[in-house]
Amino acid sequence: MSAVLSSLTRRNRLTIVAVAALALYALFFASSYDQRILTLAGIYVIMVLGYQFIFGHAGALSLAQGAFFGVGAYVTGILASQYGTGFLLTFPLSIAGASMLALIVAVPVLRLASHYFALATLALSQLLLLIAVNWVSVTGGANGLPGVPPITIGDWQATRGTSLLLFVWGIAVAAMLVARWQLNPLRVAVFTVMRDAPLAVPAFGIDPGLLRLRAFVLSAAFGGAAGALFVHTNRVVSPETLGFGIMITCLTMTVVGGRFGILGAVIGALLLTHLPEWFRGLDEYYLVAVGVLLLAMVVFAPDGLASFFKQRRIPASPPGHAATGIEENATSVKTGVRVLEISNLSKRYGGIQALDRVDLSINAGEIVGLIGPNGAGKTTLANIITGIARADSGSIGSAGFDLTTATPTAIARRGIARTFQTPQLPDGLTVHEAVATAAANIGNTANKASSISARATTAIATCGLTRIADARCGTLPHGLRRRVEIARALAGAPHILVLDEPAAGLAPPEQAEIAEILRTLAASGLAVLVIDHNIEFLRPLATRLACLDAGRLIADGPLDEVLADDTVQNAYFGLVQQ
């Protein structure tokens, strides 16, 4: 026993002691009123765990968590009180009802920018509240529906007190396990990238829409479950369950406890359900105090109380086994084969012809430099190739697939990876975590955690970053951030790599390191498109040079020929040398 205890970390020991103490209190010392409060806390734990998906991990302020809670409540309330349906049916139906609603409204709502998202979810909540109050024949109107039976499974009933308390917390523990399973470290990392560096997400084959949808539907499912348990506890369902008050309670619990993690949910729920008891003296001003608490938490402790208990997470060092996972696209393409074919591509932005009938092709193993003065359309071309922008006309094909209208995610999955002019890295993640998020999404079967980790390790090694694999991205100097971006692009095993000004802002030695990495990659069969206007960087690197000017491709050929070309000289060097 003591051996087991000593093998645990200090935090785990503390947790065990706290849980045991709480359980002892709840089961043997708490009055039936106290038990009721604890039951309520358990219900809110489930709701907050759900809310953490969308508000914490997806980073979107949803004001519909109360609505999902209410839908769960009404599904159970109506079926159980009016039709006598049993718990084993009503409980799943409550979860399904809330999830279905989330799926339906997700279509218009989820792609909205942050403030519109909050608005739309608030509108949904108000709409449901109106329906509950006014559709008297079904919902019982403002008074609601009494006569909801206790939870009954076979002959067993959880009426009040200990049995209901245990049942609710049992479901809460199940909810914790589901949350844990859904939020494996890798997915947490992917969510972090989505919040911190949203541009990078689709470019690495992750569909941010699907990710947010998953978070939203999960939050709804948890909310529905909590609502169902709530009406079994109160034995009546009323519009109160749909009111803004529940939403505010949930938001406050999440902010006070913490937006991430089980501990945060438990602390927030326990604290906020007990505060009214501890502050009885405040009477009706109690809710004012809740507002003050919420405000103060956001200003002074934005990560919630749980963050005070957390040790700094030390990321597991990447497992050292060999790169067994890399058997995908990269090595299967032979040098010299055409891998990207752009023809007759045009794009207008307002009055500006950003690209004008551009033709460009790239072969495997080739490093093509794309130069041009500021505003010539270089980044526009990169954006269109990677699907961030869409061409007005023309086509892009790769390895027999037409990618002209494909989404960024689909394009990334076809093996086209990119880096950004300004590195899009999540500051809070380690290099290995940041690279692994891209390794996880190449859409093949080898998506076991170990092979993902191995792919990331290999990509990091290729870029000479092994030594700093555990450093946080936010702490790295500019030159290394660029290399991390390249490593991340490689982790998806691409066969085309598009780099947007990889050398900008780097010292000559750093530029040389980047060039060396790119040469190695090309030698292994990767096609590389480098956008830059630094000729000194491209001269020893590029096997071919293409020059854009005012949206038109004015030259394309061997480096020396292009540099000697008069049109290129005029367009590109004219301004500088006049």
């Binding site: 500021n374 936010g474 100097p477 900008a504 802002g505 301004l575 040398q577």
Partner: protein
């Protein structure tokens, strides 16, 4: 009389990235000082730090006054003027409003300075009631310089004033900078166009990967 801008051991960091290291320089009254370097050398960061938009270590003084601890607003009021890269005129304000907005609080003095600015940039006169976004790049650059002029600063900081401009317009910019300098102001220009710097600078300072190398 105008005061000099003196920068002493200035270091600018963006998170973990060091953009400028230990930079020291003086921009003297009545002279145009050019800070020349490639894209990403740290020119913009240095200017932004001087005006207080980026945090920095080291000393910045304007004449006898240490301005390193002041807010951006206070530094401007102390006599700095900043013309950023990309001009950043207020697109929805008219040309006249763009000029007036940085003028003094006395309405009559403000009008007087507006007339002065329009004398210096006569091209802006016929467009005074147009919105700033309707102007060409060159006209916007004139407007941005004119807007800085409205506050009668001792020191002008200009970030890439020729970027994306046609050669003729660049001549106009050069002429107006010379005129400002002749009136006694200190002018510090960040520039990657070496040709332009050579043409207008009384003094040229090279900056490479965040360090100033005096020739």
């Amino acid at each position: 009389m105008s005061a000099a801008l003196q920068i002493d051991k200035l270091t600018v960091r963006h998170g973990a990235v060091v953009a400028v290291t230990d930079a020291s320089l003086i921009a003297a009254p009545g002279a145009i000082t050019c800070l020349v370097g490639v894209n990403g050398a740290g020119k913009s960061s240095l200017l932004r730090a001087v005006v207080g938009l980026a945090s920095s270590e080291g000393n910045i003084s304007l004449g006898a006054q240490d301005i390193s601890r002041m807010s951006t607003e206070a530094r401007i009021r102390a006599g700095l003027a900043y013309v950023p890269e990309g001009r950043r005129v207020f697109p929805g304000l008219t040309v006249g409003e763009n000029l007036l907005v940085s003028g003094p609080s006395n309405a009559r003095a403000r009008r007087q300075r507006l007339d002065d600015a329009l004398d210096l940039f006569p091209h802006l006169k016929p467009r005074i009631h147009d919105r700033a976004w309707q102007l060409s790049g060159g006209q916007q650059q004139m407007l941005a310089i004119g807007r800085a002029l409205m506050a009668r600063p001792d020191v002008y900081l200009l970030d890439e004033p020729t970027l994306g401009l046609a050669p003729q317009i660049i001549d106009d910019v050069a002429a107006s900078l010379r005129q400002l300098s002749a009136s006694g102001a200190a002018i510090l220009v960040a520039e990657q166009n070496a040709g332009f710097a050579e043409r207008i600078a009384d003094e040229t300072i090279l900056i490479r990967t965040g360090r100033i190398s005096n020739p």
